[in-house]
């Protein structure tokens, strides 16, 4: 397929069709037909940063969530094919989560709105850009001052423009973000007199206690959370931090905790305050905390114990450990604990942190993480709508119709607005109700920037032309690509972003808007950055500043840290049990889906097929109940139930989960779209339908309703990739106590010690000698042809003490290796193709009475030296390369599938259907990696350790007459892993990192006794000892 490179940049239709042939790897595989006439279409003008067959990287910024990670966009022949972390970026340091990587499927999403549309006679009909802009200008005029806009939390030059623009014509912009951190801001104002969001340093903390904040998957800034957590909680000579999770349900973050403390929902406040109280008593608290003594006096562990149902001793223990473990860190505010008293909870946790002296240490104010206006804003907007003060509503990067609880009644009010404009890229629920759609460009297609925090300025540049030619045209401009050289834009054509639209409308409408003079949004952006350049001292030569900024993906200054003190005369409000709507017997806890989040990810097959880290369910929603509850209700896995709250009802299949309180029923958000493209529409049920309108609270209290369960006596097959979730003593995900690990014992030794078995040789010496001799002989007899010369031996190590199960590696693998998604039905038959899967084994739990613990183990091809899959292949399609890979030659494979049977790790995947044709409907096929063959039906495929990257690097090195440096390149999974658990390299090079890690006493091979001699070494998980 690289042959198609020259199609770039000119004839779009051609571009699509020929690249469409990418997914026609089928044709290629089933025989090398050269019969069809291929056209070669040259560039008209060669752009110097596009070397055919060589990827070009552009720096940009991820906008999937507000934390604003820096990304490198890998482009080939002028189209983005992969998103990778930007190592220079302080937030994510070169790593990228599943959601960030799936942004690519947002770019190439089949559900994208391909151009402006106007509602005429009830239906949306395409119109030209000029008409759309003219119409908008006219409507703006008509609406007079009665203009309003609602946008997401994103903060940057565009949001400034929008605010100014709307402001100029007398309206205001409401910035709304679901799962926003409003309670935290309110609490911060209350306790510290500032309503900004602080940064949390998980890496420094030695004792992390989270009150329902899922800082590893969805809360605040997950990538920072992951990195910090793996630094402090990953095993090292410094030992290992402790992590206690408090909440009604064990989320992925909870599964990574050493201890799960479940308290009566809503009583977390009491717990936090009691802990603070104990710490105060213990002394060592900052002087000015003394004022709190009186206020906290009412919160003895005994009192708290009554509220929480925890033994007082436990509370004291937690408090003491938290106070003494070294810098601690308490966080709160995940939506699972966001009840009507969420503000009090955050305040209590603030106090706890303050008393423990963590403020300024692990909790740093001054970072100014982006936050929206919270629910008050929306409430205000809706009031204005009611009052008929909104004649024109502009919806930008927000989908309130879906993400607000239905009971809030946004939809009804929206319908009443005379003219509604949406800039959404996809036809989401809100856009579907609008009268005019002027789709924005995807962040990879447009000029934009973002301010994810104080001192951080992320840039976005068009790394390619708009996927849809209908995206209009503005004059091409110059900018720089990753290599740092000054060059032509890869995008000969840049589409019209919403920024451009606003500016053009401004020109048309004139009046107060005439002050916006910039020709294009790019120009506007540059002006804004001139100002920044001034601050940054780059004013002298703006071009250089601009170019460097583009090359780095933005400007990353030090995060300022501002001192905060307790607000004077602070006294925490008297704790009272939060109220719950309705009289159902269960408290309903919706929680953000790790990948779909608030539902914005639901139109991306990668995210739908990536199994939820906890339940491993794909493609549909579910209802979680505890085993005890399941018994009591007499429901089982897959049984459909209806949850009824005073505000609504939803239906979903049951999933029985040990990590859930008996009095709580949990459900993931993000499903139940009624619009939003072929993948999302009508998939599952929307948990938010059960919530009421936030009345008294200035935020959406997600944990505020009680539900009733009705059995429907129908069943639905649950598409989980989980087989048997217990290890049955097969030692797949090994673990050892901290003490043993600290003494440098091996897993076996640790076992023997625990079992009190004496150290002893398992085989007689003679036998070992004999085996050694035999093996040496065998190895001699292998030395023929390519196998004579010694070559590198590629290997990998995976540290289970660091792996959090976040599944970023899985998506990375899908993206890098053109792995097709197979969908619900095929997942049911166990036919998912994920070359890399995260197996999640339970230890303890309801059945055993022990506390439930999870062991995550990424399972991929082990590249065994004695691979059982190889000798059984009749055509050498599975064989061993001279550099230690277990090669799989797709075009040689005839599909006997014996390799799949004989693989003890079950990591070989077969193309039962023409997945390559089903999985990539246009334009999704444009995301395919040209360096990797797209597998046809009837062939076996599996992890190749990214052989395309290995060969590419070898070619590069050979061209430059040099050796490959360790760590110079790595596999997609290792590159993505946010907790740096995966290390790849040449095992034969003693200096390489992987070679050193393989020496770690914690190292072991899965199913070692089969003598398959895997090239992948796992490092055993480390557990806190009995004190946990």
């Amino acid at each position: 397929m690289p042959e198609d490179v020259q199609n770039q940049g000119i004839d779009r239709r051609k571009f699509l069709t020929v690249l469409g042939a990418t997914s026609g790897g089928a044709i290629a595989l089933s025989g090398c037909s050269t019969s069809r006439v291929e056209k070669l279409i040259p560039y008209l003008v060669q752009s110097e940063d596009q070397v055919p067959g060589v990827p070009t990287y552009y720096a940009s910024t991820c906008t999937e969530c507000a934390s604003g990670c820096g990304v490198h966009v890998k482009t080939r022949e002028g189209r983005a094919i992969k998103l990778e972390g930007n190592p220079a970026h302080p937030v994510n340091r070169g790593k990228l989560c599943a959601r960030g990587q799936a942004s690519l499927q947002g770019l190439y999403n089949p559900g994208r709105v391909r151009g402006p549309m106007l509602r005429t006679g009830g239906t949306l009909k395409p119109i030209s850009w000029d008409d759309a802009i003219a119409r908008l200008a006219a409507e703006v005029g008509k609406a007079g001052g009665r203009v309003a806009a609602i946008s997401g939390a994103g903060r940057g030059t565009f949001s400034d423009l929008l605010a100014e623009w709307v402001g100029a014509i007398g309206g205001r912009v409401t910035r709304y973000e679901p799962f926003d951190h409003e309670p935290m801001r309110l609490a911060n104002r209350q306790v510290f007199g500032t309503d900004e969001l602080p940064a949390h340093d998980f890496g420094k903390a030695r004792f992390i206690i989270s009150f329902g904040a899922d800082f590893l998957d969805t809360w605040l800034s997950p990538m920072e959370g992951q990195r910090g957590f793996s630094q402090s909680h990953g095993f090292s000579e410094r030992g290992m931090a402790r992590h206690v999770y408090i909440g009604p349900r064990m989320s992925m973050t909870g599964l990574n905790a050493d201890e799960w403390v479940s308290v009566t929902p809503g009583s977390e406040v009491a717990l936090a305050l009691a802990m603070a109280n104990v710490l105060l008593g213990a002394g060592g608290a900052p002087a000015d905390a003394g004022g709190l003594r009186g206020a906290l006096a009412g919160y003895t562990p005994a009192d708290a114990s009554r509220e929480t149902g925890l033994p007082a001793a436990t509370i004291e223990r937690l408090a003491r450990e938290f106070g003494t473990a070294g810098p601690g860190l308490a966080v709160a505010g995940g939506i699972a604990t966001q009840d009507r008293h969420a503000v009090e909870l955050c305040a209590a946790v603030n106090i706890l942190n303050y008393v423990a002296g963590n403020i300024g240490q692990t909790v740093r104010f001054g970072a100014e993480l982006p936050a929206a206006d919270g629910y008050q804003g929306v409430a205000g907007l809706m009031a204005a709508m009611d009052a008929g003060q909104v004649g024109l509503l502009l919806v930008h990067e927000a989908n309130p119709v879906y993400t607000l609880p239905h009971a809030a009644g946004f939809e009804a009010r929206l319908r009443k607005v005379p003219f509604k404009v949406s800039t959404s890229l996809y036809l989401d629920e809100t856009a579907a109700l609008c009268d005019l759609l002027i789709p924005n460009l995807h962040p990879l297609e447009r000029w934009d920037d973002t301010r994810p925090g104080a001192g951080l300025y992320g840039l976005m540049q068009p790394v390619m032309e708009p996927v849809f030619p209908t995206m209009g045209e503005v004059p091409s401009v110059t900018h720089t690509g990753m290599p740092g050289t000054y060059m032509e834009s890869p995008a000969a054509v840049v589409g019209i972003s919403t920024g451009d639209v606003l500016l053009r409308v401004a020109k048309k409408a004139g009046g107060p808007l005439s002050r916006f003079t910039a020709a294009t949004f790019e120009a506007y952006l540059k002006d804004a950055w001139r100002g920044l350049a001034g601050e940054q001292g780059g004013a002298g030569d703006f071009d250089t500043f601009w170019r460097e900024a583009l090359a780095r993906g933005g400007v990353y200054g030090e995060r300022p840290v501002t001192e905060v003190r307790l607000a004077s005369g602070l006294s925490p409000a008297r704790y009272a049990r939060p109220a719950f709507d309705g009289d159902g017997e269960f408290i309903f806890a919706p929680f953000p889906h790790s990948f779909l989040y608030d539902g914005r990810g639901t139109n991306r097959p990668w995210l739908l097929e990536n199994p939820d880290p906890v339940t491993k369910i794909t493609w549909h929603s579910w209802v979680e109940v505890s085993p005890a509850t399941a018994r009591r209700l007499d429901v089982e896995r897959g049984e459909m139930v209806r949850l009824v709250s005073p505000h609504g009802a939803v239906e979903a299949p049951i999933w029985v989960y040990d990590g859930l309180r008996d009095d709580v029923i949990a459900m993931p958000t993000g499903f139940g779209h009624t619009e939003y493209g072929q993948y999302a529409k009508g998939r599952g049920a929307n948990a938010l339908d059960l919530l009421g309108a936030p009345g008294d609270t200035p935020f959406v209290p997600y944990l505020s309703t009680r539900v009733r369960v009705e059995k429907l006596n129908t069943w639905m097959a649950v598409a989980t990739t989980e087989g048997t979730p217990r290890q049955l003593g097969r030692g797949i995900a090994e673990a050892m106590p901290l003490a043993a690990a600290a003494r440098g014992l091996t897993v076996k030794q640790a076992y023997r010690e625990a079992a009190g078995v004496a150290e002893g040789e398992e085989h007689p010496v003679t036998e070992i000698a004999a085996i050694k001799g035999w093996r040496a002989e065998q190895i001699e007899m292998r030395k023929l042809g390519d196998y004579v010369v010694a070559q590198p031996s590629w290997g990998m190590s995976i540290d289970l003490a660091r792996c959090t199960g976040c599944s970023a590696c899985v998506t990375a693998c899908y993206a890098e290796n053109n792995i097709p998604t197979v969908g619900y039905d095929e997942v049911l038959r166990g036919r998912e193709m994920s070359w890399m899967r995260i197996e999640r084994y339970w230890e303890g739990g309801e059945q055993t009475g022990q506390p439930l613990q999870a062991r995550f183990v990424p399972m991929l091809c082990q590249h065994c030296e004695n691979a059982p899959c190889e000798p059984v292949c009749p055509v050498y399609a599975a064989y061993h390369t001279a550099d230690g890979l277990n090669g799989q030659v797709y075009n040689r494979c005839v599909g006997t599938r014996y390799c799949g049977n004989n693989c003890p790790y079950k990591v070989r995947y077969f193309n039962w259907y023409k997945y390559n044709e089903r999985a990539f409907p246009e334009p999704l096929n444009l995301q395919l990696n040209p360096d990797v063959t797209v597998r046809a039906r009837g062939v076996m495929e599996k992890c190749t350790m990214c052989v395309q990257r290995i060969r590419g690097m070898q070619h590069q090195a050979r061209l430059e007459d040099r050796a490959i440096k360790d760590g110079e390149f790595m596999t997609a999974c290792a590159q993505a892993c946010p907790s740096d658990a995966i290390v790849f390299g040449d095992m034969r090079d003693p200096a390489s990192r992987v070679a050193r890690i393989r020496q770690d006493p914690r190292g072991y091979h899965v199913l070692e006794d089969l003598n398959t001699r895997p090239a992948i070494t796992y490092l055993a998980k480390v557990l806190h000892g009995a004190e946990a």
Partner: protein, 197 residues
């Protein structure tokens, strides 16, 4: 199945014969360019262009003139062949570099060059008919081969284009034996994942 059995029997015997008699199996013959093509005069008139081998291109670009007579380096146009897996097809800008000035010696040339100028001025790319189309499951990094065999090694696979008024396929590049025979000769790797991944 009887068929299979017969084929099997036949094949076994065939391969036996092959190994007993020749020592190495037959197959992988490559068609050689005929003398007729190689000995061509540089002046052509429309009449005998019809008889030329290979597909007719939208513009009658003559490698024998550019690469043969004027001795232009292949890499002047195929700019990325030494640094990238792909050789690169020259952008029209590259052509115009000369042909903005060079208008052609005789009427036929002038006509063709006119087409080029027209395409460039109209921003219409020229759709060259592809001669060598490698199957998509094969990765052939041009740069590696140039590195190993030197900048003039193109002819090894593409034949002597300096003598081709119209380029045609000399070797079936999709014939794996064609690659392998060379790799065996030069004692370089025959590892499958060198090309297939």
């Amino acid at each position: 199945m009887r068929k299979t059995a017969l084929v099997a029997g036949a094949a076994v015997l065939a391969s036996l014969v092959a190994l007993l008699i020749f020592g190495t199996p037959s197959g992988a013959q490559q068609q050689k360019s005929t003398a007729a093509d190689s000995a061509r005069v540089y002046v052509l008139d429309a009449a005998d262009t019809a008889s030329l081998r290979g597909p007719r291109q939208p513009i009658f670009f003559r490698h024998d003139l550019h690469a043969g007579q004027y001795k232009m380096e292949c890499q002047y146009c195929h700019y990325s062949v030494a640094v990238a897996p792909e050789p690169g097809i020259p952008s029209l800008q590259t052509c115009m570099g000369c042909h903005a000035v060079v208008g052609g010696s005789d009427s036929t040339n002038r006509a063709e060059i006119a087409k080029l100028r027209k395409a460039f001025s109209e921003n219409k790319p020229v759709e060259w008919v592809r001669i060598h189309f490698l199957a998509r499951h094969v990765h052939f990094p041009h740069s590696q081969h140039i590195k190993a065999l030197g900048p003039s090694a193109c002819a090894t696979c593409h034949g002597d284009v300096t003598r081709m008024p119209q380029v045609f396929q000399v070797n079936n590049v999709n014939n794996m034996g064609f690659c392998i025979s060379c790799h065996i000769e030069r004692k370089v790797t025959r590892d499958c994942t060198t090309c297939h991944y």
